[in-house]
């Protein structure tokens, strides 16, 4: 039997990965029982965003960078305003900072709920898609869609619409909702807490494969659980200012992918919900840590399959955080501070649903962008996904039938909730010849 396994050669192509955002594929070549080639190919066409931004006013940046991703536009807006306000030396004040957290909580709830219920969960229950799963598990799917809808409602409160919201400006917001709108939504958020708790328990009860892998976790760090700004830290001792990102993290290009690969000291690393929980669970409120303590998962976790549970926990956290901040809501006289542009280079970071999103803008004295660089979470996770696949497939058994191998690969990839639309549009400005 062992001989047969070793002699088996498999060429496996998954030409279109389903239930991921954007277009990707996987190429796997096994020769003599060994993985000879494994490539997560991203063929989403490049849209060259960083070039569009050149010559644009800083005022236009939040509306333009939103278009990088329909699933996480708020993340792009938040890293951009963080970078530009850092450069201009602006502190938008506590009201704006609190409402940015609320807006971002909305996006985490929306994006994580979408991923858990529409993209990831069907795998674990043996369905091809959520429409099929809803026939047998209507309550769980409806609960997930309800939470997703609440996330969208939070984004609409401050952004008018949930995809490419229009409320964010450098210096704050264009509009402050009135107290009645806030109270209405607050009531719905409070009502959803038991559902979110049940949803966390539901994901934690799914029978997930056992894996133990070794990888650095990387995330922003601030006083609260990280959302906008702060330092960049890892669980291996890294702690740097956001302006030092380019000295520690290097991107390179591979022929099979339109996304760049990012490495930390030459090694793959993890960003996203699991990395955040591994690093910052001591910054979570007691209600969330109590729930985590009652689950059969110990944090920090080295099992990438816990990514889905980490997302569920963050939904529960984001609901609590939005309730806390909106509970103290007062409508301000003006929802923004005035902005005077300044020439120089601004660095920004925030925690997109899928992880660390880093921006750099060079700006001239008129406030026009002269150069931009954006490093999205999925290009940071790309090398880690490939490393995970190599380990996971060996653990799973390379002698498994092709269909089972393919399905397992897709499950592993979906653990990272890759957003391929995001990952593709980025470029380095200093040309490096490989």
């Amino acid at each position: 039997m062992a001989d047969e396994t070793q002699q088996r050669s498999v060429e496996l192509h998954v030409p279109v990965l389903t239930r991921v955002e954007g277009e990707g594929a996987l190429h796997l070549r096994i020769r003599d029982g060994q993985i000879e080639q494994l490539q997560l190919a991203i063929f989403e066409p490049p849209r060259l965003f960083e070039k569009f931004l050149e010559g644009r006013s800083y005022e236009e940046v939040p509306d333009l960078v939103a278009r990088i991703c329909g699933i996480c536009p708020v993340a792009y807006q938040m890293s951009a305003v963080d970078a530009l306000e850092s450069l201009f030396g602006i502190d938008p004040g506590p009201w704006v900072q609190d409402m940015r957290r609320v807006l971002y909580c909305g996006e985490w709830i929306e994006s994580h709920s979408l991923h858990i219920h529409l993209l990831a969960a069907p795998d674990f229950f043996g369905y091809d898609n959520v429409m099929a799963m809803a026939k047998d598990h209507p309550d769980e799917v409806r609960r997930g869609m309800h939470l997703q809808g609440l996330g969208n409602a939070l984004i609409r409160l401050l952004g008018a619409r949930s995809v490419h919201p229009v409320g964010v400006r450098v210096g704050g917001f264009h509009h402050a909702p009135d107290e009645r709108e806030v109270d209405n939504l607050l009531r719905q958020l409070r009502d959803a807490l038991p559902q979110a708790e049940a949803m966390v328990r539901w994901t934690a009860a799914i029978d997930l494969p056992e894996r133990t892998q070794s990888f650095p976790s990387v995330a922003c760090q601030s006083d609260d659980y990280p959302l906008v700004g702060g330092r960049i830290v890892s669980d291996r001792g890294l702690s740097i200012d956001k302006s030092a990102f380019e000295q520690q993290f290097a991107e390179h290009q591979e022929p099979h992918s339109t996304a760049l690969y990012s490495l930390l000291d030459g090694q793959p690393y993890l960003v996203g919900p699991m990395a955040r929980l591994n690093l910052h669970r001591d910054r979570l409120p007691a209600a969330v840590t109590h729930l985590m303590d009652s689950l059969p998962i110990d944090w920090p976790s080295a099992n990438p399959f816990h990514g889905m549970v980490a997302r569920a926990i963050e939904i529960y956290y984001a609901l609590h955080e939005a309730i806390r901040l909106l509970g103290a809501y007062r409508r301000p006289a003006q929802p923004f501070v005035p902005v005077t542009p300044k020439a120089g280079t601004g660095f920004g970071c925030s925690e997109a649903p899928r992880g660390l999103l880093w921006h750099r803008y060079d700006v001239d004295a008129q406030g026009l962008i002269t150069a931009a660089r954006i490093v999205p979470p999925t290009s940071q996770n790309q090398a880690r996904i490939e490393a995970d696949l190599r380990e996971s497939l060996t653990d799973f058994g390379l002698d498994q039938p092709d269909d089972a191998l393919r399905q397992h690969c897709e499950q592993v990839i979906r653990n990272y909730d890759p957003c391929i639309s995001c990952a593709t549009h980025f470029l380095r400005l200093t040309t490096e010849r490989l």
Binding site: V16, R19, R47, I68, L118, N129, M131, Q148, R161, F426
Partner: protein, 270 residues
């Protein structure tokens, strides 16, 4: 849509885009499950069903055409679809990525990627209608669920969906909003932009930035003069038109006129 009792078959295809218009389906919640009862969703990769070559009654197409592979793929989608609906700014006008078409040389890729030879792209980005016949265009960056559901509902009733082409201004007036252009002097694109969003930006006290593309008969020249009166320089006015829907002819030309003015100013030492 159908002669037989079988449910109409629907596909959702993605080309160069941000995936945001597909969310008009994925954010529907309960309604998505109801739609899945009314029609047979045979291809929608992000949601799971995968059958890109399936013959369908309605194909929704998100994204613009920007690679050689996409040129071939859209031909097959057209051949396999009875009614083709392009959704969103990318599919109807090329989207934000068609700003690339305005670049004076084609060096962007080389400035973006260390190895541009690894990347296959076309010189120009085109909307879907630049490649194949399109039966219905739903504009917006992004389209919203109301637009999608109305179109599906109309097609299921066997009627042609209503095309919205009024200006944002009309919707804004119906909502009795204070005009941000007149009252605050902000360079609002509402007077030339197609309605459908619900006048969201003016309702938030800010200027419309034209993400639904040009309305019918847009008087772009008059609006450009108004912007000039507000103190905007020609290049700033050009950027108003050349943003999310720069590939739409009316906005494309209005922006180019301003770019020419800027060039003339420069030539005269202005």
């Amino acid at each position: 849509m159908t002669e037989s009792a079988a449910k109409p078959r629907v596909a959702v295809h993605k080309f160069s885009s941000c995936d945001g218009c597909q969310l008009a389906f994925l954010n529907l919640g309960e309604t998505l499950l109801q739609i899945a009862e009314l029609v047979d969703i045979v291809h929608f990769a992000e949601a799971g069903p995968l059958d890109p070559e399936a013959a369908v009654d309605i194909a929704f197409v998100e994204g613009s055409i920007s690679t050689p592979d996409e040129v071939e793929r859209i031909q097959r989608v057209r051949a396999n679809s009875r009614f083709l609906v392009s959704i969103g700014a990318c599919a109807t006008a090329g989207g934000i990525q068609s700003l690339r078409n305005l670049a004076e040389d084609n060096q962007w890729l080389g400035q973006v990627y260390a190895r541009p030879d690894y990347i296959a792209t076309l010189d120009k980005v085109t909307p879907i209608a630049g490649q194949v016949k399109v039966d219905l265009e739903l504009w917006g960056c992004p389209v919203n669920s109301r637009q999608i559901v109305s179109a599906i509902r109309a097609l299921l009733f066997g009627v042609v969906p209503v095309t919205e082409q009024d200006k944002v201004c009309l919707e804004c007036k119906r909502q009795q909003r204070v005009c941000v252009l007149v009252a605050q002097g902000t360079p609002c694109m509402g007077p030339v932009t197609r309605t459908g969003c619900g006048a969201l930006c003016p309702s938030f006290g800010r200027d419309c930035y034209g993400c639904y593309g040009p309305a019918e008969n847009p008087n772009t020249q008059a609006l450009a003069r108004r912007f000039e009166g507000l103190g905007l320089a020609p290049d700033a006015i050009a950027r108003r038109f050349h943003a999310i829907t720069s590939g739409a002819p009316a906005f494309h030309e209005a922006g180019l006129q301003q770019s020419d003015l800027k060039r003339q100013e420069k030539d005269h030492g202005g």
